[in-house]
Symmetry: C2
Subunit: 406 residues, 2 copies
C-alpha cells in the first residue's frame, strides 16, 4: 500500500468541487462529488433516533437501491429537525443535481452539517448546484475545494488517498471528512466520503465498511454528543479494472486494509481537530478479556470531561482515568491495572497494580505537553485490545459552543 | 413541614465541628459528626467499581452492622486508589476517633474527598481528630464549620434542616453536602450527610433513603463523571421520642417527604454550585411513557456538553437538546416533541411537534439569562415525568480542571 496525493478525486473517474454558495458568510459551504459511471454505494449512519433529513434520504438509497453516482453536500445548515419540509428539500436538491447531470434523482446522495432546526435556503442551494456542475473536475485541487467546503468549526481540511495493487491493477481509495463538534459517532462519524475505483460487489463493499467503522470512526469522541447527521459514504465505481472482488479473498483483505488506513487517518484527524483541541489524545486498553471490554474502557476514558481537561493542563491526573474506567460498566480489578503515558517525548509508567509508581511529575508533564499523547491501560485479563481517539477539553471548546449560532 | 435554621446539628443529640488540620493550605479540611447515642445508619454509595477506601469501610458498617455513632470526614485527599495501605488508614482513623470518644471503632464512619491516588497524611489526621473531639458542639455554627470543611471546589457551603410532627413530637432532619466536580452520581452523590432524631427502624430508614436518592442525588450531573467516593449517609438517633416508625404508615410518608425535601435541596444546590457554573440548569421531561424513559431523557439532556455550553451562552440552541434526547437510548417520536424554556423571566415555547415555533430569539435569550433556567420537554406518550439538575459548561470549569492538583 502506498500513500499518494489527493483525496476524493484520487480514484479514477471521480470529480468534485467546492464553492461559496452564500449559506455561510464569506466561506465555502457547498460541495459536489460525481463519478463518471454509476457506483456501488455503501454507507453507515448515525444511530441517533433524531435523524437529519439527508440521513433518511441516503439510507433509502444505500439500503435499498445500493447504487449512486453523485453526492451534494452543504455546511452551515444541518437540515435536521426540519420535518417533511426538510425531507422534501433533499428530494429537490437531488432532482436539481440529477437534471443537470443527466442522471436519475435517486442516484444523488445528499449530506448536510451545521445548525440543527433551520430549513435549507433552497434558492442558494439550487443556485449553488447550477454553479458547481460545470466546475466539477478530477484534479486534486478540486477534491481539496470539496474537503474545505464541508468544514464547520474544523480548522484544517481532512483528505487522504492510498493505492494498492489488486490483480495486477492499481486500485485507489481516497477520502475526505469533517468533524470538530457533536462528535461521538455511533455507526459512523459526522461526514466522511470515501471513493474508490475498485471493482467490488456491493455486498462486500458494505461489509468492509461496516466492519471498519467500528475500529475507526466509532472509536473517536470530541464531546460525547452523537450527532443527528453522522454519515459515512463509500462509493466504488470499478474503473480500476481489477478482477471484481466477490468473496473474502486476499484481494478483499488488501482492499479492507487500505480502507482501514484511510478511515483511521480521517478518524484520527477529526479527533485531533476537535473543537478547541490543542492535542490528539489516544487511549489504548490492552490485556483485556474481550474486544468489547477494551472498547468500553477506552471510550469511557477518552470521553471523560475531567480526563480531557487534565490532558489540556498537561497534568498526569491518573485518578481520573481509573475513575472513568470504573464507571464505564466494564468489569475489571482496579488493583491489577498498570497505566502508562507516552508521546514523542518518551514513555512513563504511572501506576502499577492500581497504585502510584512514584513517577516523576516533571517527566510526566513533559510527555503530556506534546501535540499527540497516548494513555495505555493494561488490565491484565487477556489478549484483547482497543484504541480510541479524542482530544483535550479547552477554554476554546466552551467559547465555540457557548455561542455557535451567532 | 417547616424549614428551620441549621444543618447536621439541627436534630437533637448531634454534635459537629470543622477545622483546618493542615491537609490543604490555609483552608478547613477536616470535620466530625457525633451523636450522643448510637444511631441507626443508612447509606448509599457509588456504583463505580473503583471504590475509595472509606466507601468500602462505610459499606461494611452500613450493610452489616447498620448502626454508627460518629463520622470523620476530610477534604483534600480522596483516599481512592490507595490499596491496602489506604484501607488501613480508614481503620486507624476510626480507631483514633473511637478511643477519644469512648466508643468502638466500628461505630465510626469515614468519608474523604479530594485528589485520587494520594495516601492520607495520617499524622495530620490523628492530630486533627484530637483537636476536634473536645470542640464537638451542638450549635448551628459548629454544623456550619463542618459543612465548610468538606468543601473542595465548591464555592458555597450546603446545609439545610426541616422539622415535621410525628405522633405529637417534633422530628428534625438536617443535612449537609459537597459537590462541585466529578459529579454524576449513581446511587448517591459525592458526600452528603443527613441526620435526624426520628425514631425509625433501620430497615425503613434505608428504604426511605434508597428510594429517595433515585429522585434527588442520582438526578444531578456536573460533568458526567461518576466519582469513586460518592457517599450519602443518613443517621437516625431516635431522640425526638416519636413512636418508632416500623411500617410504611402515615408517619413514614411524612418522614420520607421531609427527607425528600432535604435531599432535593442539597442535590439542587450541588448542581447549581457545579465547578465553574453560572446557572442551575433544570430539565423536566413530561408526558413520558414510563418513569425510566423520563429519567433517561432528562439525564441525557442535562449531561450533554453541547447543551450545557449553549446554556452558558444563553443560546436557545434547541437542536442540541433534541439531539441529546435522540442518542439517549430512549425511544420516542422526535416529530411529537414540544419544548419550552422557563425561568423567572418567563416561559416560551421553542418547538412544537419537533419543529421551530418561530419564537423570538431575544425573548428566549432573556429567559436563559437567569441564574436558574428550566427546559421542559413533552414527549406526549403518557403520564410519567422526571426532573434532572445540572449546570452550564463554562471557561471556569476548564480552568479548574486543567490544573486541579496544583
Amino acid at each position: 500500500m502506498k500513500k499518494i496525493e489527493g483525496g476524493v478525486t484520487a480514484a479514477r473517474g471521480f470529480r468534485a468541487i467546492g464553492i461559496a454558495a452564500g449559506i455561510k458568510k464569506d466561506k465555502k459551504d457547498m460541495a459536489m462529488l460525481y463519478s463518471q459511471v454509476p457506483c456501488r454505494a455503501a454507507g453507515t449512519f448515525t444511530t441517533n433516533i433524531v435523524k437529519a433529513a439527508p440521513v433518511k434520504w441516503d439510507q433509502e438509497i444505500v439500503y435499498h437501491q445500493k447504487t449512486a453516482q453523485a453526492v451534494v453536500m452543504n455546511s452551515g445548515v444541518a437540515n435536521a429537525c426540519t420535518g417533511a419540509e426538510g425531507y422534501g428539500y433533499c428530494l429537490e436538491t437531488a432532482k436539481t443535481a440529477a437534471d443537470l447531470l443527466g442522471i436519475q434523482a435517486n442516484q444523488v446522495l445528499t449530506a448536510s452539517t451545521g445548525v440543527i432546526g433551520r430549513q435549507l435556503p433552497m434558492d442558494l442551494i439550487r443556485q449553488g448546484i447550477s454553479t458547481m456542475v460545470p466546475l466539477l473536475s478530477d484534479t486534486a485541487a478540486a477534491g481539496t475545494l470539496a474537503a474545505e467546503a464541508i468544514m464547520t468549526t474544523d480548522t484544517v481540511k481532512k483528505e487522504i488517498a492510498v493505492s494498492v495493487e489488486l490483480g495486477g491493477k492499481t486500485v485507489t481509495i481516497g477520502g475526505m471528512s469533517k468533524g470538530a463538534g457533536m462528535i461521538h459517532p455511533n455507526m459512523c462519524t459526522m461526514l466522511a466520503f470515501v471513493t474508490t475505483d475498485a471493482a467490488i460487489s456491493q455486498e462486500l463493499l458494505q461489509r468492509a465498511l461496516s466492519a471498519d467503522v467500528k475500529d475507526t470512526y466509532n472509536m473517536i469522541s470530541v464531546d460525547g454528543d452523537t450527532s443527528t447527521n453522522d454519515t459515512c459514504l463509500l462509493l466504488a465505481n470499478g474503473l480500476a479494472g481489477n478482477p471484481e472482488i466477490t468473496e473474502e479473498n486476499e484481494d478483499y483483505r488488501t482492499f479492507a486494509a487500505a480502507l482501514n488506513y484511510v478511515n483511521t487517518w480521517l478518524a484520527k484527524h477529526m479527533a485531533a481537530d476537535g473543537e478547541g483541541a490543542t492535542a490528539l489524545f489516544e487511549v489504548k486498553v490492552v490485556g483485556a478479556k474481550s474486544k468489547e471490554q477494551a472498547v468500553t474502557l477506552s471510550k469511557s476514558i477518552v470521553t471523560s470531561s475531567l480526563v480531557k481537561a487534565a490532558i489540556y493542563g498537561h497534568d498526569a491526573n491518573w485518578g481520573r482515568i481509573l475513575c472513568a474506567m470504573g464507571y464505564s460498566g466494564a468489569k475489571f480489578d482496579p488493583e491489577q491495572v498498570d497505566l502508562y503515558f507516552e508521546s514523542r517525548a518518551g514513555r512513563i509508567k504511572i501506576i502499577e497494580n492500581g497504585v502510584d509508581t512514584g513517577y516523576s511529575e516533571e517527566e510526566a508533564t513533559k510527555i503530556l505537553s506534546e501535540k499527540e499523547v497516548t494513555a495505555i491501560a493494561d488490565v491484565k485479563m487477556g489478549e484483547a485490545a482497543a484504541t480510541a481517539w479524542g482530544c483535550d477539553l479547552t477554554h476554546e471548546y466552551v467559547s465555540i459552543n457557548a455561542d455557535y449560532r451567532s
